[in-house]
Subunit: 215 residues, 8 copies
């Protein structure tokens, strides 16, 4: 079974001093650490402590890997429609990966260009769980939910303007299509989607391991 | 050019006496009359005055045809996803028709079953204007907008429950996809969509007639 | 693998005639059928067609079982806090069951009485997926999410009054705790929660069957 | 028929690197390009690549013209009430123009000064489609809709303060007057209005060309 | 100066027993009494007590006149657009009248038919205060505010459907045009508008009487 | 009767160039000019054109006085509760004054200290119209409305935090007390309140002048 | 110290069968029982079980007294402005009383008639805790909070119409005046206010008993 | 009884000049002074006047102690879940303390880690009043309310993102759990919570002193 599951620090709203202090404290226990919503400035301070820390500028994540490596065992596909949703999609991808999943990405699919979406059917079949990140393309999860048999985790984003109301519009649209195997996490919560996906793949792994479902 | 364009009576919120009185007054001018949001009870009273009046129970419309017939000249396609959106879709269809358009309908298309939608491409090519009526399938207009070159008029409906918030959720989702040749009318406003479609086909007809665009 | 997966009819907003017609059409294909949000009156009409149909008055569901029986293979636990959330909880339970899962229920747990919740740890360990239904106890999913390693699907309900705003308050509270392995479906959407839970257990079953995760 | 229809880049929320990269990629295909919501800084970078690019500072648009010229064939009138709505009105005008329409403007009409509006009747008759941009004067589209036979596309803007709620108030007001041949696009979505207007004039042009409406 | 200013009873939310008891108590003091939001059933009970009480079925008001008569001294014009706004308009008219004002009415004016509005200029000049009642025609007060020099009191109504959101949309639209001598009362509050108009005419009367402004 | 009624420029959302240009154009007609929501920077540019222009830093108003002087004839009292409401209260005061009214101020009254309010009864009796500006003290207008016979114009302000929701909370509270001779203008709209007050005093003046109310 | 503290049943949303079953189960333990939000029909069924049960029709409460009597020890004053707030005020009063407090009531105080409020200063001094129930008079708690030194518990009610938005408006207004020793419970939650008041008086009693504060 | 109760200045929205002036005026009366929502810059100016003034950087409070010392007599416990809620929690703590209470803090308790909460039972028993500050952990007050017999004052905070909607989500969740002895103050209103807690402990103290409750 997987090892090295990370501790998580939500950096937004904390001072650099507080963040560095938490990182150092957690590091003593030889755990992997994931920092989310971290600015470059935060990263530079953390890097002094952990020179091997890795920063994903788009996702705004810091990953500190120490301790045993985790065997990647679940297949998580992250899909999104456009450039402005990338930060949230990347946060989901980094989270799922650091928690021990294989992650693939399809960041160029939108409902107004169905062919590009239909090109991804192979990728969809590969996945155990699909994360769909969308702001102005709030319709994307229900279209994908119709094509896929897997659990779909929808993440509304606060991109867009006007009647997008900071993601509320996408959130509501996604909630209204819950019937087809979709559930939703908070606006911009790439981390939550990655963590939920991981909770599912971990359960899959556990059951397969225990042979509970053998027939 | 078209004749017999109807007068319109919005019956909701009026007493039967008020409605019958308006119908009788308008009828004197030998005009066609369209009554919307009319209950069966209202219809029965109007029918005494105009025995040839026609009631569409689903659309809740009353049509009184008198005076010259209108030549149907525009092609309006009304699409919707499900049974619960039918009343609004029918209101749009009746309105577009009584105003002088050819109307066709595709009431069984949804984003979660793309093949049924792709079967309608022929019908889509036929249309000059497309009306898309959707409540829980708020994503439908943007998917159709991606497939079609025509003006798309989106009508959110107040069906659904929970986070559908009486159509607000569908409305917001539709507004967020305005870039692809979509514009939106009020929640449940099938009449307004039919009237807007007609305004467009009338303009097409007028320009074609005047040969303005000849090359 | 599971058989007899049902067709589903959402009865709300449809006339009895429409519903009976859809039931009869689907029945011809010898499928199991699940009707949701069905009144007693609807059931009585459906029963004439399928005398063996079963009505759950609380859940307002109709189940028509024909064709092969489904082997139950996933473990779904449905939890809720109080009497007023029962209809939604039951809808989730019936849905998960008719789709082929073992379902257990804990309908008497609330955050203000932690001991009753701590009594359920055994039951929690049994589950592959946990559905938590809550209206006035909007805090319940995050407390359970803290106790459990399983995917938690939270269903806000429209019970309560005043600032519960028809479930909006519970919905928002649940979205804010997405970090701990929780995702959310629409207000009162017991069906969607059951279907999402089933999508997860089906994926577990599929992977276990394919031995993909064997080590 | 029209040529040189542009590719469009929504610049907001993208980094300068991303934008320049997309411009250069699209440019290779010898297409016209329209960039919207572009800052001066973005323009200066794009200009290095395309020295003939034109920036409209008010509209915040970049237009790169290459390839064949488009014959302008539709008549689009853009109306607004005040200075603060100009950026959105200009975005609509630039969009309609670069897509191949004749564009005229009436930026000084308001409901509280009806005479100035009545002076524009000539201009109104000229148009095939009318775009009305309004924030604090949310009433403008319905007044114009009453004077005009053409399709009216209403664009709410986020100007104003207090109970204007970033354009929501104007949006709702416009939706409530959809009956008279008005449909609505997203708040501040000048681009969407221009594109919708163009979809209509293109359809007019196509039908006139095909002689479909000949009598 | 005016006499016989009435006591007011807001009947909604009170039992018939409570209402009759308050009427009888107030009546002992020989005052005029105005009951608002009174059902026919309430009126029939009050009538037993005061056989001369007058019921306005549209306005849902009860007026009991006793004591000295009031000399009517202010000129209040009540304007509205359509049939569905009549109950609120009538409540405003009855209130202003029973408080001692001359009341005239123009109930057939709308922004989409400017000529009918321009026909009322004479009436507008007659008024000291103008009350404008509007739901779907939320634009009406600002158009009238542009034509008139008098104080305009705008009353949003909860008629309409969809994005009218029970009058919220009209309310917001009216608030956004406050610059031109308009102020707003609560949704459906015909009484409040009549009372506010009366407060203004009473002040006019008082100042004229005191000769304060003589030059 | 009053002379020199000013032209008004709403400076927010306009560039300095646009503002200076409008000031210079209006100035040619020898009118008084009132600029609202003007920054110090705007003022400095206007001052170059009109060295006698006066800036009220708190109110953010610019007043250019030229042409004939206006005889002050109406009595307007501006009341507010606290320091943070001062900018809006001052905007109302400057507006009422430049339009030809005597203005007095009571800026230190709050509902939690009734004695300070009861000290102002003399001042209240002096007024023809009362403007009440309040944010966190949303209750103030109804308390004053209970003490005064004059028309009360309530101005909600966007001060406060949390559940003040940028003035929405104060706005709603004020709308709910419309029965007692109160009407409301937009959030932070000191100008609108001043203009409405002036519309009332001008009407008083006109009637008194015409001797219409003589008895 | 107090005895006989009651068990509480929230009857709304439960079937009569469920309610009677819970009453009978709780009754076995010889406890006092308080049922809230109970219809007359519910009461009649409960009365068969407990002939001595007392129904308060206004408050919609059922009280079953058995076991030892509680010594009343805290002083709770319930204040409200008008007839329509009485049900909620009575629910608060019944709750505080059955939990062992002396309860007095002042149901005729409003901010527009300050003298009636100032008449209650004696009553205010008597109280240990004050509950203020208000819908349209949302200002009442802050006025009372200014007069009193005691903890004030504010209960917004859903009476009123239009912009009262089912109590939201009163709720927001009350939250904005929290500085002066006021805290708020849910809309219409008379029970919660009574229970909170009781929690305070119980703590007072406990401390006084333990002599902790002796000096 | 307590002495030296402070005067309070709400610094947000005031200029430094205004703040310093109020401090100096209040200081003349030899009172203790509490400034809330004060920036470091404000503090530095106040410090020139009162060199002994103390600034709490997290709470953003200034305390000026002069005059007699207050005997601390009530026990107030402030609880919160995470680092981002600390500023509001500290504001509550400083307020309660400067008003004469013993204050203890438990800033590391959350619903997802029940054991840490159960460790605090001793501390809970010590308190007379409990303040619970929470943003993303909106469930915390109801869990604590279930464990404690004391009055609980819940303070929603505007931390979090997405569907936390600046504290609205936490506010609504807290209001829905008012039954169990919880009442709520405004979002981020640490001051109001501290003041309410103090109002309660003062009342406890007064009653104990007067021996009213002696048995
Ligand atoms: N981007 C994120 N959005 C929401 N929750 C997060 C995010 N990143 C981390 N978390 C959660 O926040 C917790 C850490 O919060 P904290 O102790 O304040 O750093 C983690 O255990 C996660 O559950
Ligand atoms: N279903 C509808 N929804 C919205 N507006 C409508 C509808 N039916 C008719 N109308 C509009 O209402 C006007 C008639 O309103 P009225 O004079 O009140 O009967 C027509 O001219 C239409 O513009
Ligand atoms: N239709 C109405 N809408 C709002 N307030 C009203 C209305 N009718 C009467 N009122 C107010 O309600 C008060 C009487 O309330 P009540 O004592 O509850 O009958 C009157 O003095 C009026 O100020
Ligand atoms: N942080 C705060 N939040 C809300 N109200 C406050 C706060 N600080 C002080 N107050 C209140 O504001 C009043 C002082 O306001 P002011 O006179 O504007 O300084 C005090 O008496 C308190 O009731
Ligand atoms: Mg699927
Ligand atoms: Mg298209
Ligand atoms: Mg968990
Ligand atoms: Mg028109
Ligand atoms: Mg005017
Ligand atoms: Mg008054
Ligand atoms: Mg007090
Ligand atoms: Mg408790």
């Amino acid at each position: 079974l997987r090892k090295g599951f990370p501790e998580v620090i939500f950096c937004q709203g904390k001072t650099i001093e507080q963040i560095v202090w938490i990182f150092s404290k957690l590091g003593e226990e030889n755990r992997n650490i994931l920092g989310t919503r971290a600015s470059m400035e935060v990263f530079l301070s953390v890097q002094k402590l952990y020179p091997a820390a890795i920063y994903n500028e788009l996702a705004r994540t810091i990953v500190v890997s120490q301790g045993e490596d985790s065997n990647k065992t679940g297949n998580v596909l992250v899909m999104s429609a456009g450039t402005t949703d990338l930060p949230v999609a990347e946060e989901a991808a980094v989270t799922a990966e650091v928690m021990g999943n294989h992650v693939r990405k399809a960041y160029d699919v939108g409902v107004a260009g169905l062919h590009r979406l239909l090109d991804k059917l192979e990728l969809i079949r590969w996945a155990h769980v699909i994360i769909v990140v969308a702001g102005m393309e709030g319709a994307l999860p229900s279209v994908i939910g119709g094509l896929a048999d897997q659990p779909v985790i929808a993440v509304p984003t606060s991109t867009g303007y006007g009647a997008s109301f900071n993601g509320l519009s996408a959130l509501l649209g996604m909630l209204n299509s819950c019937a087809s195997g979709i559930s939703v996490v908070n606006i911009d919560n790439g981390f939550g989607a990655g963590a939920m996906a991981n909770t599912i793949t971990r359960m899959i792994e556990k059951v397969a391991h225990e042979d509970k479902f053998k027939k």
